[in-house]
Symmetry: C2
Subunit: 298 residues, 2 copies
Amino acid sequence: MIRIRDVGPRDGLQNEAPVDPVERARLAEALAAAGLRDVEVASFVSPKAVPSMAEAATVVARLPSTPGTTWWALVPNARGVELARQSGLGHLTVTISSSEGYSRKNVGRSTDEAIDGLADIAAAARGADRVDVVVSCAFGSPFADVTDPTPTVAIVERTLTVLPGASITLADTTGTATPRRIAAVVGALPNDARADLGLHLHDTRGTALTNALAAIELGIDRFDTSVGGLGGSPFAPGAGGNLATEDLVLMLHDLGYETGVDLDGVLEASRQLAHLVGHDVASRVSAAGPLPEFGGRT
Amino acid sequence: MIRIRDVGPRDGLQNEAPVDPVERARLAEALAAAGLRDVEVASFVSPKAVPSMAEAATVVARLPSTPGTTWWALVPNARGVELARQSGLGHLTVTISSSEGYSRKNVGRSTDEAIDGLADIAAAARGADRVDVVVSCAFGSPFADVTDPTPTVAIVERTLTVLPGASITLADTTGTATPRRIAAVVGALPNDARADLGLHLHDTRGTALTNALAAIELGIDRFDTSVGGLGGSPFAPGAGGNLATEDLVLMLHDLGYETGVDLDGVLEASRQLAHLVGHDVASRVSAAGPLPEFGGRT
C-alpha cells in the first residue's frame, strides 16, 4: 500500500487567489470521498503573510468527520499549534529547510533560529497525534547552499533531537531531485528518520513521477501530492507545481500498487479545483483522461 | 551509451504552422551541433496533405554534411523513397500502425493495405542505408483496438517479413504506455525485433520520462525525442507532445548515462525552436533550466 497525502487544499491553494473557506472544505471533502486518507487542509499562519490561507478555523469547522481520513494542518510556530489544536486538529505539519538561504527568504529566520522554533513547537504540540516535519530544499536549493546530502542530513538529525517522535517528509521544493539524488540523501539519513519517511515532490523539471517510482523502489511508501498538480512557492523561483495526485495514482494503479484512492474521484475533485481557481490545472492526466485498459503479462 | 534521435524538425514541426525550410535546416544543424547523432529532418509526403512539411528537398539540400550525424527522412510510400534518395538521404523512417482505426484515420488504409505499402517501400528502398519502421499506437490506441500486445506483435512480425533488415521503433502515439505495458509488449516481440529496438514516446499523461527509464532497465538504448517536447498527431485526439530531448538528456546525465549530447546546446536549439514556432515549448527543463550540481554517493 502506497500512502498518499493530498496537500492541494493547503499547498495547492496557497499560491492562488483566496478561495472561500467553505469551498476549501468542500474540496477536502471531495478528496476524502475519493479515498485519500490524509489531506492537508489548512495553514494556521498569519492571514497577512498568506491571505489565501485565511480562515483556517472555518475550513476545519466545515470538515466532516470522515472515518479513516486524517486532516492535517500546517503550523509555523507555537501559536499555530495552539490554533490548530483549538480547531480540533492534532495532525500537524511543520516545515524546516535544508537551505539557509531559503529559510531566510521563506520564514525570515536562519536554520538555527528555525530549529529553536521547532523546540517551541515541540513544547506546544505535546500530546498532538502526530507531527510531520517537512524538510524543504532537501535535494537542492535555488540559493546554491544544498549541493550534497550533508545539509539535509544535519537538519534531519537536529529535528529528531528536538522532536524525537516526528515523522520526516523530504521536500523537493524546486524540483531538482533525481532518482540518484534521492538515493544519495535517503541513504545518508539516520535510521530513525527512515522509520516513517515520506517525499513531497515538485514537478518543476517533469521529474516528479519518475522520482516517486524510484523512491518506491528504495522502500519509501508515503508521498505528498496535490490534486491537479497545483502548488509552488513564492520564495523559490520557478518552483513548479506539486506532483499531481491523479498522475501518481494512474501510474501506481497500472503498475499494480494499491493506494486506496479512486482515480475517477480525484479527477472529479480536480475539475472542482479548476473551477475554484479559474484556470486549467497542471495535471496531465486531468487533461488527457484515464488510461484505456491494456492486458498482457510482463 | 543511450542513442537519441531528435525528431523535432519533422514530428515536432509537423503540427505547427509552416516554417521556412532554411530555418528547419538551421534547427537540424543546431541539433547536430549539440551532439545529436541522429536527426529526423524531413518528411517526403504530399505538401497538400501536410503543408508544414513542404519543400523537404530544400531542407535536405541546406543540411551540412556533419561527420557523425545521420539525417533521417520520413517516407510514406515508394514515391517518397525515390524523392528522399534523390535528395541524397538513405536513412528512412516508415510508419505503420498497430491500430486498424488509427491506420485508416492517419493514412486512409487498413493495416493490410499498409503492409502491402511496406512491400512497395521495401522494393524502392533496396540499397538504402537503413529503414526504421515506426510502429504507431504500439501500446494502445484511441480507437480501442490495441488492448494487449497482440496487434503490435503481429504488425512487427509482418513488418519484418516484408522488410527483414529493418529496425523497429515502437511509438506510444497517444501516451498510454507505462513501464508495465512496455515490458509486456517488448517481452512478447520476436527476437529479431529486439536486435535494434527503439522507443518513440509521447508525454500525453506525463509518463514519457518514467517510461524511458523503465525501458532502459529492459535493455532498450535507442529513443526518439523532440527538442522542446513539440509534436503530436492531428489524427490522435489528445496525443500530446513528444518526450523532450532536453528533459531526457538532463535526467540521463544525472544518472550517469552517456548520450554524447550537450544539454546546453539542446537548450539553445529549443530557444531557437520557440522563436520559430512563436510560442513556448512544452519542455519543463527548457522552462526551468538545468540542474544545479548535487554530489554524494548512492
